[in-house]
C-alpha cells in the first residue's frame, strides 16, 4: 500500500470510528440521565462525564489500532514523563492503562493465565502478566495494540515496571529507554534531580532520532503547561470530595483517571476535566451525595481492585462508608504544584522523581495524616495488594501508627489489583463489616 493510501485509510477508519463512538456516548449519556430520575438507596448514579471519558479513551485506542506506519509509537509507563515524546509527535500508548482496563473488563485473569502458562510466576505483578498474556494470546479488548518504536519506562512507581517493560521490549523487539529515578528515602537531593534531568536530555536525543523530528523546548513547554493545568483541574476535582456529603467517591475517581494517566498534555484531556469539574460542582451545589447515606469517610490506600470496583463501592456504601480520597488517584495531581514552565526539563525531573510511590513509607504516612485532617476522615482502607509490593510494604506499621497517634482505625484488605483469583469476597465483606463497627 502506498503511504498516501495508508494515510487515507487511517483517516477514514478513525473518522468512522469516532462517529460511532460519539453515537455510543450520546446513548450512554441518555441512559445515565434516565438513571438520575430513578430513586437510589446506596450510590448516586454515575456522573454523565463517564460517557465522555469512555469516548475519549476509546478514541485514543481506536487511533492506536491504525497508527503504525502513520506515526511513530512510544509506549510509556504511567509515571513516565510524556512531554518530550508528545512534542516530537509520537503516538503514546501506556500498557499500565491497558492492563487496568483489562482488569475492569474482567479479561485480565485469562491473560494472566496465558503468561503463567509460559512460565511467568503468579507472584509477579498482575498488570505485567495481563499485558504479557495479551501479547501471547494476541487479544485485547481495545481493538489492536500499537507496536512500539520506542518503549520509555520510568521506575518512579516500582522496579517491577522495568522488568515488565524489558520483557515487552523482547517480545515486541523494540528499544527500551529507562528513566531511572532513585528512590527518595528523604527529600530529593540535588544529584538525584540532576541524574533524572541528564536522562531526560538523553531521552530527547534518542526520541528525536527515532521520530525523525527536531526537539523543540518551546513545544515541550506548551505541552507541559497543558498537562500542568489538567493536573490542577484533576486535583480540584478530587478535592471536591472534602465537601460533606462527598459529591464523588474515590471509585468515581478511579474510573475518571484514565485520561490524566494516558493522555495528559492533550488539550482534549484538559477540556474533559474542566467539564467534569463543572458537573461535580453542580452536585455540590445541589447537595448530591455520592454515597446516599454517607456516615463514615475513609481513605483508600493503594491501587483499586479493578474487577470489583462496583462491588467494593456498594459494599462500603451499604455500611454508610464513603471512600472519599485515595493517594493513588492523587498521584496524578502531583505535577499541578511542581512543574515550572521556565525550567521545563529540570522541573520535569523534579516532578517525576517526587512521585508518591517513589517516596518513603514515612512520607506516605505523613501524607495520610494530612488527608485524614483535610478530608475529615474516620478510617483508612489499606488494600494489601499481593502483586504490588512497593505500595503495600509499610501498611502494617502505617495502620498501627495512625491508630496509636490519631485513633483512626484501619482495615487491611488482602486482594490484588488485577488478579481476581486471589480475591475472597466473603473475607473482604467480613473485614468491611468489622471496620464499620470499629468506626461506629
Amino acid at each position: 500500500m502506498s503511504p498516501k493510501n495508508q494515510i487515507d485509510d487511517y483517516r477514514k477508519a478513525v473518522a468512522e470510528g469516532k462517529r460511532y463512538l460519539r453515537k455510543q456516548r450520546l446513548q450512554q449519556e441518555k441512559m445515565i440521565l434516565e438513571e438520575t430520575k430513578k430513586p437510589h438507596t446506596l450510590l448516586s448514579p454515575p456522573l454523565k462525564s463517564l460517557a465522555r471519558m469512555s469516548e475519549l479513551l476509546s478514541q485514543n485506542y481506536l487511533e492506536g489500532s491504525y497508527v503504525n506506519g502513520i506515526k511513530k509509537v512510544a509506549w510509556f509507563s504511567s509515571g513516565a514523563p510524556t512531554e518530550i515524546l508528545q512534542s516530537l509527535g509520537f503516538f503514546l500508548y501506556t500498557p499500565d492503562n491497558h492492563a487496568a482496563l483489562c482488569g475492569s473488563r474482567r479479561v485480565a485473569v485469562e491473560y494472566c493465565e496465558a503468561a503463567e502458562n509460559v512460565g511467568y510466576s503468579r507472584d509477579i505483578c498482575s498488570y505485567a502478566r495481563t499485558d504479557i498474556g495479551a501479547f501471547l494470546l494476541n487479544k485485547t479488548p481495545v481493538g489492536k495494540i500499537p507496536k512500539p518504536d520506542l518503549i520509555v519506562v520510568c521506575n518512579n512507581i516500582c522496579q517491577t515496571i522495568l522488568h515488565w517493560y524489558q520483557a515487552m521490549g523482547v517480545y515486541y523487539d523494540a528499544p527500551v529507554f529507562l528513566i531511572d529515578t532513585p528512590f527518595l528515602y528523604e527529600d530529593a537531593q540535588d544529584h538525584q534531580v540532576e541524574f533524572v534531568k541528564n536522562q531526560l536530555e538523553e531521552l530527547a536525543e534518542v526520541a528525536e532520532r527515532i521520530s525523525g523530528n527536531t526537539f523543540s523546548m518551546k513545544k515541550m513547554t506548551a505541552i507541559g503547561d497543558i498537562g500542568m493545568e489538567a493536573a490542577a483541574v484533576w486535583l480540584e476535582i478530587l478535592n471536591k470530595a472534602k465537601h460533606r456529603p462527598a459529591p464523588i467517591t474515590t471509585f468515581d475517581a478511579f474510573i475518571l483517571m484514565g485520561p490524566i494517566v494516558a493522555m495528559r498534555g492533550q488539550k482534549v484531556t484538559l477540556d474533559f476535566y474542566r467539564d467534569v469539574l463543572k458537573e461535580v460542582d453542580e452536585r455540590v451545589k445541589n447537595g448530591v451525595a455520592a454515597v446516599i447515606t454517607e456516615k463514615y469517610r475513609v481513605l483508600w490506600d493503594n491501587l483499586p481492585i479493578w474487577y470489583r470496583i462496583k462491588w467494593t463501592a456498594e459494599t462500603l456504601a451499604s455500611h454508610g462508608i464513603a471512600a472519599v480520597v485515595s493517594n493513588y488517584t492523587l498521584s496524578w495531581a502531583d505535577s499541578a504544584q511542581k512543574l515550572d514552565p521556565n525550567r521545563p526539563i529540570e522541573s520535569c525531573a523534579r516532578t517525576y522523581l517526587k512521585s508518591l510511590l517513589n517516596r518513603s513509607a514515612g512520607y506516605k504516612l505523613n501524607d495520610m495524616k494530612r488527608l485524614i485532617k483535610e478530608f475529615d476522615l474516620d478510617g483508612v482502607l489499606f488494600h494489601s495488594d499481593r502483586s504490588c509490593k512497593p505500595y503495600s510494604l509499610g501498611q502494617e506499621d502505617q495502620r498501627a501508627i495512625l491508630f496509636d497517634e490519631l485513633h483512626v482505625p484501619g482495615l487491611i484488605m488482602e486482594a490484588d489489583h488485577n488478579d481476581a483469583r486471589v480475591f475472597s469476597e466473603e473475607q473482604v465483606a467480613n473485614g468491611i463489616n468489622a471496620f464499620a463497627e470499629m468506626m461506629g
Partner: protein, 356 residues
C-alpha cells in the same frame, strides 16, 4: 579448610577498633566501608532466624531475606551492628529500608545506596555522587575521615581480593574441594576482610577434585541451605559454575586511577549481568551461554527465594533460551530454611537424571 567464622571476624574487628556494618544484598563498595573503619558483614537472611519475626512489619508475600533480616536487626543478636547499609536492590529491600528507617527506628543508623540500573554516562556521574553522599554518612557514623591515599590503599586491597575471587570462582575444576567446601569458601567473602580472604585462597588445596556426573550451572540469589550442594552430589551431579547473586554476580572489574570515588563508581557498574540491575535479557543470556559453554555445564538449575521478582521476570525467557541451546533447565523456588523439602529434592533428583 579452616575458614574463620563470622563471629570470629566480628570479634577480631572489634578488637582492632573497627565497627561492624551489617550489609544487605547485593552490590556495595567494600573498600569505602573499610576505609571508614567498618567491617562489612552481609546479611542473606540469616536462614536460622524465625520468619514470623518480620511478619508484623511485612506481608507474607515479601521475601524471606526481608522478613528474617528485619527481625535479626531488631534483635539482641545484632547488638554489635554500628550501622546497616541497605543497597537499593529491589522493591522489597527498598521497602525494608524505608520501614526500618521510618517506623522501627533501630539504635544504629540505616544507610542506603541507590545503584543505577543503566550503564550510561549519566549513570556513572550519578554513581560518583551517590558514593560521595554515602561517604559523608559514613563519616558521620564513624567519626573518621580517611584521606584519598588511605581509600586508594583499601581499593588496591579489594582489587586484589576481586582478582583472587574471580580466579577461584572461575576455576572450580582446579581445586580439590567438595562443592559445599568450594562454595562455603566463596561465600566467606560475605564477611571476610579482603586480606583474610586472599590469604585463605592461597591455602586452597590444588588438584583435580572428585567431580562426579554431569556439571551444572547454579543460578539464583543464595544457595541456602548449603546442604543443597551435598544433595546435588548425592544425586550424581556437581556444580561446575555459578551465577549466584552472592558469588559470581559480584565479580567486579578491578579498576585503577587517582580518584578513589571515580574508581569505585566504575567498579560498582562493572559487575556481570544481574537480574537486580535489570540487565537486558539478550545481554544476560549471551553471558550465561558463554559461561555454560566454557565450563561444559550440561544444564542450569535456578534456585530462587520465593517472591524474588527480579529473578522471576527472567525465568520464562531464560528457560526457553536455555532449552533452545539444548541445556535442560530447572527452576526451584523455596523459602530460606535449614532443610530442603522432599518435593524439592525429588525435582533435583529427576533433573540430574535427565542430565545423566
Amino acid at each position: 579448610m579452616n575458614i574463620p567464622r563470622r563471629k570470629d571476624i566480628i570479634k577480631q574487628a572489634k578488637e582492632k577498633g573497627d565497627k561492624i556494618a551489617a550489609v544487605m544484598p547485593i552490590h556495595y563498595p567494600r573498600a569505602l566501608l573499610r576505609a571508614y573503619g567498618f567491617q562489612p558483614i552481609e546479611l542473606w537472611g540469616p536462614p536460622h532466624v524465625d520468619h514470623m519475626g518480620g511478619v508484623q512489619h511485612f506481608p507474607e508475600y515479601t521475601c524471606d531475606i526481608v522478613h528474617k533480616s528485619t527481625y535479626f536487626l531488631n534483635s539482641d543478636e545484632a547488638k554489635d551492628v554500628a550501622c546497616t547499609l541497605i543497597p537499593h536492590t529491589c522493591d522489597s529491600l527498598q521497602g525494608m529500608a524505608s520501614v526500618i528507617n521510618d517506623f522501627i527506628k533501630p539504635q544504629s543508623p540505616i544507610l542506603t545506596l541507590y545503584h543505577p540500573r543503566g550503564r550510561r554516562k549519566s549513570d556513572f556521574l550519578f554513581m560518583e555522587k551517590e558514593l560521595k553522599s554515602l561517604s559523608a554518612k559514613l563519616e558521620t557514623v564513624s567519626g573518621k575521615s580517611p584521606s584519598d591515599s588511605e581509600l586508594l590503599e583499601h581499593i588496591r586491597l579489594e582489587n586484589e581480593a576481586i582478582t583472587v575471587f574471580e580466579k577461584v570462582a572461575m576455576s572450580r575444576e582446579q581445586y580439590s574441594l567438595t562443592d559445599r567446601e568450594f562454595y562455603t569458601l566463596l561465600r566467606s567473602r560475605e564477611y571476610l576482610p579482603a586480606e583474610t580472604f586472599i590469604e585463605l585462597a592461597q591455602k586452597i588445596p590444588a588438584g583435580k577434585p572428585d567431580l562426579k556426573g554431569p556439571g551444572i550451572m547454579l543460578s539464583g540469589i543464595v544457595p541456602e541451605p548449603m546442604a543443597l550442594f551435598d544433595h546435588i552430589n548425592r544425586f550424581g551431579a556437581h556444580v561446575i559454575c555459578d551465577d549466584l547473586a552472592c558469588c559470581s554476580r559480584r565479580i567486579y572489574q578491578p579498576c585503577w586511577g587517582d580518584d578513589p570515588i571515580s574508581i569505585l563508581a566504575n567498579q560498582m557498574l562493572s559487575m556481570p549481568p544481574d537480574t537486580t540491575i535489570s540487565t537486558p535479557f539478550a545481554e544476560r543470556f549471551a553471558y550465561l551461554k558463554k559461561r555454560v559453554n566454557e565450563k561444559g555445564a550440561q544444564g542450569m538449575l535456578v534456585y530462587n527465594i520465593k517472591f524474588c521478582e527480579p529473578e522471576l521476570f527472567y525465568m520464562p525467557l531464560l528457560e526457553k533460551a536455555m532449552k533452545d541451546i539444548s541445556k535442560p533447565f530447572l527452576f526451584i523456588e523455596t523459602e530460606l530454611s535449614d532443610e530442603l523439602s522432599h518435593q524439592i529434592l525429588n525435582r533435583i533428583n529427576a533433573f540430574v537424571e535427565v542430565l545423566s
